[in-house]
Amino acid sequence: MPFVHAVLVFAVTAMLTQGCAFSRGTLGDDIKTEAVSAIKKGVTTKTEVLALLGAPDRVLPLNGRDVYQYYRYDAKAGSLLLIIVNFSRLSVKGDDLFVMLNQSGIVEEVIWSKRTENLEFRFWPFGE
């Protein structure tokens, strides 16, 4: 009987589904974890940071220090087109890396998290 139920559920779902769509968009280059790991506080210089990561997306002056900001955005959209109703969900997340340099051009602090790793295609717009 479970097989019959599974076939029935599949048949009903197939009849109700007109189509589905997956879309993805990205902004900026991927920030490589290895490159970030290679940056050592109190050791790595501004020149080395630029060699590892390239030019920053933004340079922020922060209390007499330079902060290099690198970012990347990732967007994943899923649409479920049913006969009765259409559901769509777009999720956007960003990776932001901040490298704080002291006045001598040495890395003082690194602030980084990779939020796009857990980004999934989702259809259901309700709940979380």
Partner: protein
């Protein structure tokens, strides 16, 4: 109305409801992870540091100067859009395709601002707006 009319009326209602619902769209757009007061309850002014905040919430979207030291900003959005086209009800009988669309969008934009002193210790934190969870409803009035 006789008993024999009941199935026909039920079928007609089913067709009408299906016609209305077939023009339904429910869309949600989220930017970053929406934060709630519970998510930031761990932040204690005068005690929590920038690195502890980053450890729990991830890196902020921006860092700026403030009079006390530094301010980090976490931006997020939870947009909800729903739409119903009641014009579909008249399409079987109308020579044109009429539209009577009710739709509503709620831009749940918000941001968490965390102020730190020169040593990177939290001075204060606040949400930019106080967005409460809004349901999907297309009624615009």
């Amino acid at each position: 109305m006789s008993r024999s009319d009941t199935p026909r009326i039920s079928l007609l209602l089913l067709v009408l409801v299906s016609a209305v619902l077939s023009s339904c769209n429910v869309v949600r757009i989220t930017l970053n992870t929406p934060l709630t007061p519970d998510d930031v309850a761990f932040i204690v002014p005068g005690q929590t540091t920038l690195l502890e905040v980053v450890d729990r919430l991830g890196s902020p979207d921006s860092l700026n100067n403030s009079t006390s030291g530094v301010v980090s900003i976490y931006r997020f959005l939870d947009m909800k859009y729903s739409r119903v086209n009641f014009g579909y009800l008249a399409r079987p009988w109308s020579p044109v395709d009429p539209d009577l669309i009710f739709s509503r969008t709620g831009f749940g934009t918000d941001a968490l601002q965390v102020f730190y002193d020169q040593n990177g210790v939290v001075v204060q934190h606040n949400f930019l707006r106080h967005v409460t969870e809004r349901p999907f409803h297309p009624y615009p009035f």
